[in-house]
Structure formats: structure tokens, C-alpha cells
């Protein structure tokens, strides 16, 4: 082998750093795949509770995992991955909700009637239930943002008050006080709505 061939072979050889990168990338892909399998459903339900649209919720979940992929170097430093992921998707859906135009309430009713479990109910009962839920959700939308967020997250049974506080970046006592205020405000709103009927 001549000297020039030896130099070329040295340049064409795959460096050890590239092999390490490949191994690391593969490990990160496996971790990410495991996260998707474990938490995609939870993230979807969180996203749907805010956006109330299946396609938008799925997009939000995909965007959340894209962000995770972008910051996969810091994945090992995350203490509670579930709460971390919920926080990511929560910020995404709030941002989307803020930018989205206000949709008519009839869209929500139709969407709820399509999505809600029928459970052997007739079509009329399903429509009535969907209308009722849409009315309640419309009242929830009238709450101040801080109270509304706590109320919506408290509906997720898998989230403790400490975890809700972590997602929202507030203290646990703030979560409890906001939840108390939200319930009182909701009662007032529903009373007001019933008196108008």
C-alpha cells in the first residue's frame, strides 16, 4: 500500500466519535419511543381537555414529543418525566388556545356528541348530554385563567396537587386556594345561567 492510499484509508475510516454518536442516538431513540408508548395517551387527554378537538390534540402531542427530541440531551436530568411532559404539552395547548379563534359553541356540542361514550344511550340522550357538557364547559371557559387551569388539571385523577403545582409553576397552597375559588365561581356562573333560563 502506497503512502497516499494509507492516508486516504485513514480519512475514510469511521472515527470513534461517530460510532459513539450513533450509539447515543440509538439509545435516545429507544428512550423517546418508550416515553411515547407510556405517556402519549395521558398527554393526548390533557391536550384534548383544553383544545376539545381530536386532531388538534394529536398535533399538540406530536409537537410535545418533537420538543423532547430537540432537548433530548437534557432528558437524563429530568426527575419526573411524566410531569415534565405534561408541563410541555400544557404550555403548547395553552399557546394554541390563545392563538386560535373562538369557535362557535355548536361545534363543541357536535364534537362532544361524537366523542363522548354512548353507553347504550339513545341518540337524543347523547345529544342532550353533549349539550349539557358543552354548557358546563362554556361556563368553565368564563373562569379567570388561573382558576380555570387549576380546575381543569384537577380533573385528572393521576395528578396530585403537588404535581399540578409543578405543572403550573406555583405552590401547592396556591393550587388549593385557586381550586376553592374556581368552584365558588363555577357555582355562581351556573346559578346565573339557570336564573336566565
Amino acid at each position: 500500500m502506497s503512502a497516499s492510499q494509507a492516508i486516504l484509508a485513514g480519512w475514510m475510516e469511521i472515527p470513534s466519535s461517530a460510532v459513539n454518536d450513533q450509539v447515543r442516538t440509538q439509545a435516545e431513540d429507544e428512550t423517546l419511543s418508550a416515553l411515547v408508548g407510556q405517556y402519549a395517551g395521558t398527554l393526548y387527554r390533557v391536550a384534548f381537555s383544553v383544545l376539545r378537538n381530536p386532531a388538534d390534540a394529536e398535533d399538540a402531542v406530536q409537537e410535545a414529543f418533537m420538543r423532547v427530541l430537540r432537548h433530548r440531551d437534557t432528558l437524563g436530568e429530568v426527575r419526573d418525566q411524566r410531569v415534565w411532559l405534561i408541563r410541555i404539552v400544557w404550555n403548547i395547548v395553552l399557546d394554541r388556545k390563545r392563538r386560535a379563534k373562538t369557535r362557535p359553541e355548536t361545534d363543541d356540542v357536535a364534537e362532544l356528541a361524537r366523542v363522548l361514550p354512548s353507553g347504550g344511550l339513545s341518540a337524543e340522550e347523547i345529544a342532550s348530554a353533549a349539550q349539557h357538557h358543552a354548557h358546563v364547559l362554556a361556563c368553565v371557559d368564563q373562569l379567570p385563567a388561573k382558576e380555570r387551569q387549576v380546575l381543569m388539571l384537577s380533573a385528572f385523577e393521576e395528578l396530585t396537587s403537588v404535581e399540578i403545582a409543578t405543572v403550573l409553576g406555583i405552590t401547592e397552597s396556591s393550587v388549593r386556594s385557586r381550586l376553592f375559588r374556581a368552584r365558588n365561581l363555577m357555582a355562581d356562573l351556573l346559578n346565573h345561567a339557570r336564573s336566565l333560563r
Binding site: P15, S16, S17, A18, D21, L32, S33, V36, G37, A40, G41, Y44, R45, F48, S49, R52, P54, E58, V61, Q62, F65, M66, L69, D73, V115, L116, H132, H133, V136, L137, C139, V140, L151, M152, S154, A155, F156, E157, R183, N184, M186, A187, L190, N191
Partner: protein, 176 residues
Amino acid sequence: MNSNAQNPMTNGSAAISALQADDVEATLRLIARLPAPAGLEDRVEAALRSRPRTASVLSWPIAVEPGSNWMRAAAAAAIVFVVAGGGWGIYSHVQQPQAARVIVMPQHLAAPGGFSSAGAMRTPQTLNGPVLAKPVAAPPLQAVQAVQAKPSRKAPAPVRPVQPAAASKVTAQPAK
């Protein structure tokens, strides 16, 4: 407890509020329990795989780790150097016009009781022409003429005429 017993309306409205709160929470829990659509995980994973990754075609001759801090610091220092150098270059080339210097002349006061200048104003001297530090003396006219009259070749030395005094001395010697 006492207040509730004294005011049954309060108790009743509290019960209604509790019912309404339960109603709200039931709706929210119903939404929160909705199952994710089938195949969501596969679609998310497919989207993650289809995302273009930043592939490195050429590898650096030296092993540069992604998290190497010294490389980042060097790059940041280079950027700062370039930006600061460019800024200084622009600053040094574009100078603000300086304000005209004003020389304040001392006010001339007439000497009390002395001679007056009769309204004469001192004017500054204008610039003179170039002055030579060592004035070159002009050569004398005779010397110039002698140089002009001098032939280029050396002429034979003229024959000196015998002086009459010396000749007389020779002739005056007595014969021995």
C-alpha cells in the same frame, strides 16, 4: 354549624353549590378520561422518525464532543472579537466633525494716560515665502568669468619672463 342552623337558605345554597361543583367536576372528569385514539403512539413515532435530523457528512479531524465547553467558548470569543472589531473599524473611520476652534484674543486696553494706538488694529502676519536656513552666497563675478575663460585642457605653463633685476645681478659680477 350555628350559622347553617340559623340560616337554612345558606345550607340549601351550599348543597346546590356542591351539586353544581360535582356536576362540573363530573363533566371535566368525563373529558379527562376520554381514551386516546387508536394508533396514536405509532403516528407520533412515525412523525418523530420522519423529522430530518442534523446529519454530519464530514467529521472533524479532532474529536469534538457536542457538549465540549471550550469549543463553545472559543466560538463565542471569536464572534465577540469579530463584532467588536467591526464596530471599532466603523467607529474609527467615521469621525464626528470637530467644532471650530475659536481663539479668544485678549482685549486691547488703552494704557491710561499713555500713548494711544489711534484705533489701529493689529493684523496677524501673513505667511511669508519659503525661507532658506543657510542663504547661499552668490559667487563673485571675476571668478565666474575665470571659470568661463579657462580652457578645458590644461595649457602649457607660460614661460616666466626673466626679471631685469636678476639679469643685472648676473652681469654685475666681477670677473675673477
